[in-house]
Symmetry: C3
Amino acid sequence: MTVTNFQLRAQIEALHARYAHALDGDELEKWPDFFTPQGRYRITTAENESRGLPLAVLYCEGQPMLRDRVASLRHANIYEPQRYRHMISSVLLEEETATSVKSIANFLVVRIMENGETMLFASGRYVDRVTLPELRYEERVVICDSRRFDTLLAIPL
Amino acid sequence: MTVTNFQLRAQIEALHARYAHALDGDELEKWPDFFTPQGRYRITTAENESRGLPLAVLYCEGQPMLRDRVASLRHANIYEPQRYRHMISSVLLEEETATSVKSIANFLVVRIMENGETMLFASGRYVDRVTLPELRYEERVVICDSRRFDTLLAIPL
Amino acid sequence: MTVTNFQLRAQIEALHARYAHALDGDELEKWPDFFTPQGRYRITTAENESRGLPLAVLYCEGQPMLRDRVASLRHANIYEPQRYRHMISSVLLEEETATSVKSIANFLVVRIMENGETMLFASGRYVDRVTLPELRYEERVVICDSRRFDTLLAIPL
């Protein structure tokens, strides 16, 4: 069942927007707070997902693990300076309950290197379980279209 | 006259989102059901459109013809496996009547090949006539910015 | 404070959409009317912005100056014909007052040349001050991610 509650739709879109701006503005320390205390974050590929493979490119469970991830990125930052820009569209809401809603959305991320070079970095969809009325990710699964991954995958998608 | 009915806006955005996810998720069989029984689907170029040329890159009229198109794609599928990802934004509503509304929206489609290579595939705008309250496309015109077209054009835009 | 007024959100999204379609449809003469009489338009880079540098790639203040810009583009148009397509997402509203609201949004612009070649042209964010209830830009700051700029920068972003 598609949820057509337009007020909820606006709230979920605003949540995704805050998430995108935090990452694009290099405010990584805010990232764990978008999740519930036990929140799960997983990056996988469409290929693995369609085959039902549990393999993840990245898996974090709970805010402490999400904070560790940010700390590693900050301390072990050996990468070339870069920016990301998230585009998010086509939000679909499903399975609304009194305490959560499922959100599916398309994303496209471009990466801008220090020298100005811009490239398509990743595309795919977010499949989320968002708690209500707190509006936090209980689970965010990032399903990337491509199986070709930059091994320096650094900033969260 | 621009329509500022925010509830209708949310409904139209949800329709475009369902359409995008059906195509990106390779659920082509759902595609004809987004149209009315006599619904028209046309792909053209901005160049032809601005010159008033009736030429279409693709034209389908009515659900049976749309279903034929899907069947051809399924049976004659000689193409390299690929995924699409639709980004849709800047929805504008105009000319609302009791039974329909005109929607204009920008789109950007990226194509992801089996080997992981991602490319900008098409950009342009959708110009739609959507029936109310059923929310189906009576007409969807896909106006592509580029006149350079992949001759293997397979999956609907 | 994030503004969660969903009706206002729909209005601002519709404003950004009209702006995008005016530029993508080459209706440049409409562009100054999206601003207040004293409206300011500034293109800068993320690098300059984060360093607090007041340098702008382009700066216009007031409708007469915006109209001059359009006139120059029309009269001195020595550039290769091209189209733009704006994608806008992740709108965030902040600092709402009785007479204005701040809007932040991500953008991605692709450029389509006469020969059909399509490229990522620019990405970044719009930081706007929009007057209420008129819905005009009192200020639109276009902060581009890349410092590498096409010197033929012609059509407004």
